[in-house]
C-alpha cells in the first residue's frame, strides 16, 4: 500500500524558506537603491531592474512554490513552461506590434 503522511506531501523545508526570504529581501533592496540613488540610466537601468525582478521571481518559484519537486510525470512543470510561452507571446508580441505601429504613425 502506498501510504504517506503529510510531511512527505509538502516539499518545503525551513532552510529553503529562509534562503528564499533573505535573497528576495536583498534583491528588492538592491533594486530600490539603484532607483533611489539614480545609480543607472536609460536602457541599462531597465535591463538591470528587469533582471533583478526575474531572478527574484525564479528564486520564489523554486523555493516558495516548489516547482519541479513533484514526482514524475511532472505536469506542473509542463503547464508552467506552456504558461511561459503564452506569456512571452502576449507581452513580447503586444510591445512589438504597438511599437512598430507607433513608429509608423507618429512620423
Amino acid at each position: 500500500m502506498n501510504k504517506e503522511n503529510t510531511t512527505t506531501l509538502w516539499h518545503g523545508t525551513l532552510k529553503e524558506y529562509i534562503v528564499g526570504f533573505v535573497l528576495s529581501l536583498l534583491l528588492t533592496l538592491i533594486a530600490y537603491f539603484i532607483v533611489k540613488e539614480h545609480l543607472l540610466k536609460g536602457l541599462l537601468l531597465f535591463s538591470t531592474l528587469g533582471g533583478l525582478g526575474v531572478v527574484q521571481a525564479v528564486i520564489q518559484v523554486f523555493l516558495f512554490l516548489h516547482l519541479g519537486k513533484e514526482s514524475k510525470p511532472k505536469w506542473g512543470v509542463v503547464v508552467f513552461l506552456f504558461m511561459l510561452m503564452v506569456l512571452i507571446i502576449i507581452v513580447g508580441g503586444s510591445l512589438w506590434i504597438m511599437q512598430s505601429l507607433d513608429s509608423r504613425l507618429m512620423r
Binding site: T6, G53, I90
Partner: protein, 196 residues
C-alpha cells in the same frame, strides 16, 4: 508528534487537487501578463494628466513590497508547521500572514483613495486606467485570498488538520506565494521603472 497516515485515495486526491489548482494559477498568470502588456503599451499615454513620475510614492511601494514578502514567508512557515501537524503554531503563523495581508491591502487602498481624491482616477488617462486595472486586479486577488484565509483558519481551528483542511491550506499557500511573485513584477515594472 505522530501523524495519521493518509490512504492511497487521499494522497491521490491531494495530488490531483494541487495540480488542478496549479493549472488555475498559470492561467491567472496569463491574465496578469495581458494586463502587464496593456500597461507597458499605455504607460506614456497620459492625455495631459500626471505622468508616472509625478504620482508614485516609491517608499510606500517599498513598504507594501516588504509587508507582502514577509506575509508570503510567514505563510510558508505556517505550511511547514501544518505538514508537521503543529496546529497552534500553524494557526498563529497563519494569523500573522492574514494581518500582514490586511495591512498590505490597507496601504494599497490608501494609495488609491489618495490618487482619486486628487482627481487622478482611472478616468483621467489611458495610463491611469491601465495602472488601476493592473494593480487593482492584484488587490482584488489579495482580498479574495484574505477571505479564503479566514475560512481556512476557522476550519483548522475547529476541525484540526484532516486530509481536507491540509489540502485546502496547501492550495491557499500556493495562491499566496503566487500573488507575491506577481507583486515583484508590479513593483519592478510599475513603481521602480516608472519612478523618477
Amino acid at each position: 508528534m505522530t501523524q495519521p497516515l493518509l490512504s492511497t485515495h487521499e494522497v491521490d486526491t491531494y495530488h490531483k487537487t494541487t495540480l488542478g489548482f496549479w493549472v488555475y494559477l498559470m492561467t491567472d498568470c496569463v491574465l496578469f501578463s495581458a494586463l502587464f502588456a496593456t500597461y507597458a503599451v499605455l504607460h506614456q499615454n497620459t492625455f495631459g494628466g500626471p505622468t508616472s513620475q509625478q504620482i508614485y510614492d516609491l517608499s510606500l511601494a517599498l513598504a507594501e513590497t516588504m509587508v507582502l514578502l514577509i506575509s508570503s514567508f510567514m505563510c510558508g512557515l505556517a505550511m511547514l508547521m501544518a505538514s508537521r501537524h503543529e496546529k497552534n503554531r500553524a494557526l498563529v503563523l497563519l494569523g500573522v500572514t492574514f494581518l500582514l495581508g490586511l495591512s498590505f491591502l490597507t496601504m494599497e487602498l490608501h494609495e488609491f483613495t489618495h490618487l482619486v481624491q486628487e482627481g487622478n482616477s482611472w478616468r483621467r488617462s489611458a495610463f491611469l486606467s491601465s495602472y488601476f486595472t493592473l494593480v487593482g486586479t492584484h488587490g482584488l486577488h489579495i482580498t479574495c485570498g484574505l477571505v479564503w484565509m479566514g475560512v481556512v483558519i476557522g476550519q483548522i481551528f475547529f476541525r484540526g488538520f484532516t486530509p481536507h483542511t491540509f489540502r485546502r491550506m496547501s492550495c491557499l499557500s500556493l495562491f499566496w506565494h503566487f500573488l507575491d511573485v506577481i507583486w515583484i513584477f508590479i513593483f519592478t515594472v510599475v513603481y521602480l521603472m516608472g519612478a523618477k
